[in-house]
């Protein structure tokens, strides 16, 4: 399909509209009352068209996407408006009618394929379920079809991969298998709910290419939901920008990306512009933390070999690399969770004990860690007061009124209103807020070095940027050093002083930011850098062409 074909399809008139939502209102039940989540949004989608839905976390994107299937999550209800799919009003359709549509004419691709695949069944069984249950084709045909689709999506071993269980397949592959599954009944509409958010850049690019390819091949209409404007601009014909359940801006992809009308859209575009001011060379020879030739393994599986790096006072060292390259493992070695088999970790020139159990309270205090997943990193059964207060009490023996005051001060520091937040449970916080709490907890210990393990990966970009700014400000104010682990090069560009590139457990390149980011790069660094989506609708095609040419 090409640009002209699309234009003709669009001028074809109303008959071609596959989905219309008018004045869509959706309510969610929380704190014993119904809150409106989506406040009357209109969506129109034509056959073969890809519509991008973009907005920050909690904007209501998924909710709208699911509403397109006539579906409201547990605890949500469609309270107003119309959803007309191919002439059927989904808000009035019976359960059986809806069931007949779902999976066969409207399909869904979930954000986390790993969670959305049933761990108990083989991929191909899950593939065949919808076509067979909807009576579209017999099992044998569906299987053959699956293999064909797997091939088209460039999955390795298309004939055999379907017989694996979800856990036996990598994240990127699962996401493609899920796309294939959505395609199984050749639906008229697919809802893609952030299909690449959980993937690292190098994998993301493959999945994006596969999706784009398949949607074009079958001329399927799609709702593409994401919070990354760069990604959506590769995929969508039109884009809708949402915020707080309201439409902010809508239009063709290129005009929106090139000339946004609304401030909010501009903010979204500007996200990647944050830059850390350059700092001086480190003074003094003794680095705050030195990792010396560390080799480590999980049991017999070697993970790190000969990793060395220095982190100086008041500086940020970014550690980048694809998933599984050993970034987190390095952090675990430093914190003492995983004693290295060789090498050692020095703190201010003094060797730290390889296991945290034998480290002194003070050593533990000076080195804090923030985790990638704020959901699992803070205890859901404790209140903010206790989460942040604990290090104060534990390390610094601050109790009573004084502790309360400190907690409030810390909350202010991370820009949360103490009166509002101090008594909340983590379940009552957004992802970004939870991550801030994690930061506050680390800060409460008054550390010198904080290890940030992918602290922004789970957050949407606006929130991520806020967090980065916050970290930067704290560094300026408190003189902290950071070890910043990430796979997102944009983040690296924003915050790092020095960069360490890791691949397969080894450091492939390391040095000051400018040095690493100026060509010539190490070939792996090159691959990483070139995989970061750009805000240009043609970027994906270009990169793919370049890469094809290179082979």
């Amino acid at each position: 399909m090409n640009a002209e074909a699309k234009t003709t399809a669009k001028t074809d008139g109303q008959s071609d509209v596959i989905l219309t939502m008018r004045g869509l209102r959706i309510e969610g039940y929380a704190d014993e009352v119904w809150h409106e989540i989506v406040h009357g949004v209109d969506v129109t989608l034509r056959r073969g068209e890809v519509l991008g839905l973009i907005g920050e976390s909690g904007a209501g994107k998924s909710t709208i996407g699911l509403a397109a299937m006539g579906f409201a999550r547990d605890g949500c209800r469609i309270s107003g408006g119309q959803i007309i799919f191919d002439g059927i009003d989904l808000t009035k359709a019976s359960d059986d009618e809806l069931r007949a549509l779902r999976g066969s004419r409207i399909a869904y691709v979930a954000q986390s394929a790993a969670a959305a695949f049933n761990p108990a069944h083989r991929l191909i069984d899950q593939y065949c379920e919808a076509p067979v249950q909807h009576g579209i084709m017999p099992r044998s045909e569906a299987e053959a079809d699956a293999k064909d689709l797997y091939g088209r999506l460039q999955l390795p071993d298309p004939d055999g991969i379907g017989f694996r269980y979800p856990h036996q397949v990598s994240g990127g592959q699962l996401q493609r298998a899920m796309t294939a599954m959505a395609m199984a009944c050749r639906p008229d509409l697919i809802v893609f709910d952030e299909p690449t958010t959980a993937l690292d850049v190098t994998t993301q690019i493959e999945v994006l290419a596969a999706i784009k390819n398949i949607v074009q091949q079958f001329d399927t209409a799609a709702l593409y939901i994401t919070h990354d404007l760069a990604v959506v601009s590769q995929m969508a014909d039109r884009i809708m920008v949402l915020r707080y359940g309201n439409l902010v801006e809508e239009g063709e992809t290129r005009p929106i990306v090139e000339d946004p009308q609304k401030d909010y859209t501009r903010d979204l575009l500007a996200v990647r512009t944050f830059r850390k001011p350059p700092v001086d060379e480190p003074e003094g020879d003794i680095p705050l933390l030195r990792v010396e030739n560390v080799t480590a393994a999980y049991g017999k599986v070697p993970v790190l070999s000969g990793v060395s790096m220095d982190i100086h006072e008041k500086r940020t060292v970014a550690v980048v690399g694809e998933s599984g390259s050993g970034k987190s493992t390095t952090a675990r070695v430093i914190t003492g969770l995983l004693p290295p088999s060789e090498g050692r970790v020095l703190y201010e020139g003094q060797a730290l004990d390889p296991t945290y159990r034998k480290r002194s309270k003070d050593e533990l205090r000076r080195l804090q860690m923030i985790y990638q997943m704020p959901d699992t990193a803070i205890n859901p059964r404790q209140r903010v007061r206790d989460i942040i207060g604990r290090p104060l009490e534990f390390y610094l023996a601050i109790r009573g009124e004084e502790k309360e005051a400190r907690v409030r001060q810390l909350l202010q520091m991370i820009e949360l209103d103490p009166d509002d937040f101090i008594d909340r449970h983590p379940g009552e916080l957004s992802g970004g807020q939870k991550q801030r709490i994690c930061i506050a907890r680390a800060l409460a210990a008054e550390p010198e070095l904080i290890i940030c393990d992918e602290v922004t990966s789970a957050l949407d970009q606006l929130v991520a940027e806020e967090i980065l700014k916050l970290l930067q400000r704290l560094q300026d104010d408190l003189g902290l050093a950071y070890m910043f682990i990430t796979h997102d090069l944009a983040t690296v560009k924003a915050i790092a002083d020095e960069i360490v590139v890791m691949l397969a457990g080894e450091v492939v390149e390391q040095g000051p930011k400018q040095e690493i980011l100026t060509p010539p790069h190490h070939e792996y660094t090159e691959l990483l850098l070139s995989s970061v989506p750009e805000m240009d609708p043609d970027w994906l095609d270009r990169v793919l062409e370049d890469r094809a040419a290179a082979i």
Partner: protein, 318 residues
């Protein structure tokens, strides 16, 4: 697969150790009980002299550790020894009764396990409906009634009033299979009422626990029917806890049915064990306890193996 083999071997090894400790505890326990077999058998008729003579005859005058070791040595040679009370070969004694016990347990299991799973699945499917409430109330009430009471009520209705089943299940070897099953129905029903609630509630809870998972949402978004979602998507992932509860209850059906045996005059192992304890017939007590402990260990092992088999992550590690 070889991992499972290794686990089974390791567990069986530990099982042997467990058996050994169990036999030791039981031996000590019975030794500590007031009185010994001589006194208990002679009962009110015991005098110092007769008791002493009896003890001599049974070899009870030896110190306990020697008796225990002798018993252990015999056991290791595959000999359970003889009952002190009536000199019968324990292996013979166990043989018939063990089969009886297993037979009753099997009949009860055949009724109760499918019933519990079905009710659990239906209750999960129609959760919070009248049906769900009714099933819950019924099963909860049935476990609140002591076993013997449930038995009396069943006997009242099914044996005395309606006369469809015999009130006592005194089976013997001559009976045909069908006749045996028929005679076992009432005790099996009693046991069913006792164990169904636990299994049913666990099935229900384990399934409901998964219903908020993304893959269930995905299944709904594929347009599948609610029944299929529960059975095909939730149930397979809820199997591990269910299997464990089923195993515990099966173990109960074998090990814990003394009272039902008494009420229905069913010649099973439980009755033998209780009788032997009260008469301090240590070798029989030990033999029964070992059989029970073994049942427990094997069922647990089976549950663990099945949990592994039911979980592809464990079955097909990457």
């Amino acid at each position: 697969m070889s991992d499972i083999g290794k686990m089974v071997a390791q567990r069986l090894g530990l099982g042997l150790l467990t058996l050994f400790v169990v036999s030791l505890i039981i031996f000590l326990g019975v030794e500590l009980l007031p009185g010994d077999i001589a006194q208990e058998i002679l009962g009110q008729a015991a005098t110092e002299e007769t008791v002493a003579a009896f003890r001599r005859e049974l070899g009870l005058n030896l110190p306990p550790h020697e008796r225990y070791i002798a018993w252990l040595v015999n056991l290791l040679q595959g000999d359970f020894g003889k009952s002190l009370a009536n000199k019968r070969e324990i292996s013979e004694l166990l043989d018939v009764r063990l089969w009886n016990t297993l037979f009753l347990a099997a009949v009860a299991a055949v009724i109760s396990v499918p019933l519990a799973l079905t009710l659990g699945i239906l209750a999960a499917l129609y959760r919070n409906s009248i049906f769900d409430r009714a099933v819950n109330i019924m099963t909860l009430s049935s476990i609140s009634f002591p076993e013997f009471f449930v038995a009396y009520i069943l006997i009242l209705f099914l044996a005395v009033n309606l006369g469809v089943f015999p009130s006592i299940s005194n089976i013997s070897e001559e009976l045909s299979f069908g006749e045996r099953v028929y005679r076992c129905i009432l005790p099996a029903l009693t046991l069913t009422l006792v164990v169904v609630a636990h299994m049913m509630r666990m099935t229900r809870a384990a399934i409901i626990n998964l219903l908020a998972s993304p893959y269930i949402e995905m299944a709904r978004l594929k347009g599948l029917k609610p029944g299929r979602i529960i059975v095909k998507h939730a149930l397979p992932n809820a199997l591990a806890p269910i299997i464990n509860v089923v195993a515990i209850n099966l173990a109960y059906l074998v090990v814990g049915v003394v009272i039902v045996e008494v009420v229905f005059v069913y010649p099973g192992l439980g009755q033998l064990l209780v009788d032997s304890v009260s008469k301090r017939d240590i070798p029989v007590v030990q033999a029964c306890s070992l059989v029970f402990a073994m049942t427990y260990i094997l069922l647990n092992l089976l549950a663990d193996v099945l949990s592994i088999l039911s979980n592809p992550r464990l079955l097909h590690p990457r």
